[in-house]
């Protein structure tokens, strides 16, 4: 009996996982497109919009009701012949910047986009300054005093 239980649990678990997977797939509808370009655009847009109720899921990947409604809206707007940017703006106007996985470059997001660039430049400048300082240090001639001290340390007599 005890020997039987192990495989049984494994099989049950696998079956449940499979069912969960099917349920997940069933929750996201399949849409038919006559035009493959529209289909690609649909997938691109729904992959780039974040579901407002989920922590980190695109609307094409979520079975939350609001994500489904947003996919419907994207589909309808695409069928109406609207441009990608119009559709994204349509969503931002309602659900806020939060839905954009790729935040727009504007006053409020200046720090977000600008800081990595600024830090990179700062790093380059620092490295440049250090390299220059080192090079100058090694090229500099010794003063008479320093030379005398060096001679003393190395016990060398100057002949000239």
């Amino acid at each position: 009996m005890a020997l039987m239980r192990g495989p049984l649990i494994l099989i049950t678990t696998l079956a449940l996982l499979l069912m969960a997977g099917l349920a997940q797939a069933a929750a996201i509808e399949v849409r038919d497109f006559d035009d493959p370009v529209l289909e690609t655009r649909y997938h691109d847009i729904t992959a780039s919009l974040r579901c407002p109720t989920c922590q980190n899921q695109a609307i094409n990947d979520s079975d939350a009701p609001v994500a489904g409604d947003m996919r419907d809206r994207v589909y309808r707007l695409l069928m109406d012949g609207r441009a990608d940017i119009e559709i994204r703006n349509h969503m931002v106007e309602r659900f806020g910047d939060y839905v954009l996985y790729n935040p727009r470059l504007e006053g409020r997001t200046f720090l977000l986009w600008g800081l990595p660039v600024a830090l990179g430049l700062l790093g380059l400048v620092l490295v440049g300054l250090l390299v220059r300082a080192r090079r100058n240090a090694s090229n500099r001639e010794l003063s008479a005093e320093e030379r005398a001290r060096l001679d003393a340390l190395t016990n060398r007599e100057r002949t000239e």
């Binding site: 009701p65 609001v66 409604d69 309602r94 806020g96």
Partner: protein
Amino acid sequence: MNHRRLLLLLPLAGFLALAVFLYQGLSLNPFHRESALMAREFPEFDLATLKAPERRVDRELLTGGELTLVNVWGEWCPECKREMPQLLDLAERHGIRLVGISWKDTREKALGFLEEFGDPFEVNIFDPDNELAFELGVYGAPETFLVDGDGVIRYHHTGYIAPNDMTETILPEVEKWR
């Protein structure tokens, strides 16, 4: 020489500043965010009311000069039930006008909800297909919008209005825009 030593601490100082900044971010509530509709006009709509299917209401419901709290609710939403005592208090004790949006519900269930938990609403807009709520960017019930007398959205409360939210945010905001 001492000055140069101090300069070496600069990257560490920068790192610490960044660490403090990012650490603060960890304690932020990711569900808290401003409504995209703040200071914008309440969207256009044309929908039936919950109690009288033949009566239709539109945006003019909110442009009559009176400040209104618009509450999005559903029978299926447990937090909405917990919120009802606060809404009843707002309507009855503070004399605030409340308009409900009955969201993604059937008439039967929504009416049953009002019977069981009380009805603080002057009128309920019936929105079973997420038409108006989508325009408002609603992504979960309950949500509450404060709309001024000209139909402009002035405040947005996401989630349940707890008893302490009444004195901390709702009533001060109502006073501010009345």
